[in-house]
């Protein structure tokens, strides 16, 4: 009975969103905003080959700051929420293949992650993606070597430093550039080269570090409360 009621609501919701689908015609050309960002004179103002990165780090850099805050919050909340968990967790012995592979893969994954976020302004990827890859490396290690303690202090320092650098660079934009998060506080460099897009690669690198550290932290916290009871 209650499900019928729920179904009715869902159907009604479907009817409600139908006009959205119905009036969707796709895009024949870039919308105004995207078009603006794609104009050559504007592209060179940011000088980032990856336009998505340009949007994420500069035009909509404030969103990214918020995004970083959300991850930061999540990590912080989970940290104080899941703390003080005692109780032994019995772990199964991992297979030799797994542990060896993990040892081999871990540095490679870290390097891949770093590569992804450092080249975020040139190639697909960026801070979040790179950070996620780093975190995957961490989870791999956590699964492979559950007994090995993780240096959470290091993670948290990394997190803090990256965060402060991000905010600092953003503020610097407002102080010496044309606005908060202005990437032109550093030389814009040559388009398409590694050293281009001003502060973007630096910001994105620190975002990557921060995301990596935070996600790892969350995972470590989750793991730490695993217990048998």
């Amino acid at each position: 009975m209650k499900n019928i009621f729920t179904l009715m609501i869902l159907v009604a919701f479907g009817i409600m969103i139908y006009p959205l689908v119905n009036s969707f015609k796709g895009n024949d050309k870039l919308p105004e905003l995207g078009n603006y960002y794609a104009q050559p004179e504007n592209v060179t103002k940011v000088n980032s080959a990856n336009l998505v990165t340009a949007v994420v780090v500069t035009y909509r850099g404030l969103d990214t700051l918020g995004e970083v805050s959300i991850l930061f919050l999540t990590a912080a909340i989970i940290a104080f929420f899941l703390k003080k968990q005692t109780g032994k967790h019995e772990v199964r012995e991992n297979s030799e293949i797994f542990t060896t592979a993990a040892k081999v893969l871990f540095p490679l994954m870290i390097i891949l992650g770093v590569y992804i976020f450092m080249n975020g302004h040139l190639t697909p990827g960026g801070g979040f993606q790179g950070g996620a890859v780093i975190a995957s490396a961490v989870i791999l290690m956590l699964l492979a070597f559950p007994e090995v303690p993780v240096n959470q202090k290091l993670l948290s320092y990394m997190e803090s430093i990256s965060g402060i650098v991000f905010v600092g660079l953003a503020a610097l934009g407002a102080l010496i550039g044309f606005g908060y998060l202005d990437n032109a506080i550093l030389p814009l460099g040559t388009f398409g080269k590694f050293l281009s897009a001003g502060a973007v690669p630096i910001i994105y690198s620190f975002v990557g570090l921060k995301v990596g550290a935070e996600l790892s932290n969350i995972l470590v916290e989750f793991k730490s409360v695993q217990s048998n009871e």
């Binding site: 870039l30 995207g34 050559p40 336009l51 989970i78 929420f81 899941l82 040139l122």
Partner: protein, 118 residues
């Protein structure tokens, strides 16, 4: 192509909502929530598509001068990145809550968490 993405996205949203509203297990509800989020991300991507466009990354294939004609909209792509991270954060928190709730009552049935009412 974009129609399929949009339609799928909407259907995934509805599926997610159905799970949220009818499943009794906290974990399933959270999965429903994730589905709901994912559906929205799909819709975002669908909207960013420009017919015949390519990724908004300027390199040797897409040069800076004709970028405006050849790329898809970078804006929703930036938005979806943000949205994904937010979704991740919320999901992680919900899972943490679910863990604690399970610890408290030894069940994951949402109907047994009615200590607060009226």
């Amino acid at each position: 192509m974009e129609y399929i993405a949009l339609g799928t996205g909407m259907l995934v949203i509805l599926a997610g909502l159905w799970a949220i509203m009818t499943r009794k297990n906290l974990i399933r509800i959270i999965i429903g929530f994730s589905l709901f989020d994912t559906g929205i991300h799909l819709v975002l991507v669908a909207i960013s598509y420009v017919k015949g466009g390519t990724a908004p990354i300027l390199d040797s294939t897409v040069c800076i001068q004709d970028a405006a004609q050849r790329i898809v909209d970078p804006v929703p792509q930036a938005l979806v990145l943000t949205a994904i991270v937010i979704g991740l954060g919320v999901t992680a928190l919900m899972l943490a809550f679910a863990m604690k709730m399970h610890k408290e009552k030894g069940t994951l049935d949402i109907r047994s968490f009615k200590d607060l009412k009226w």
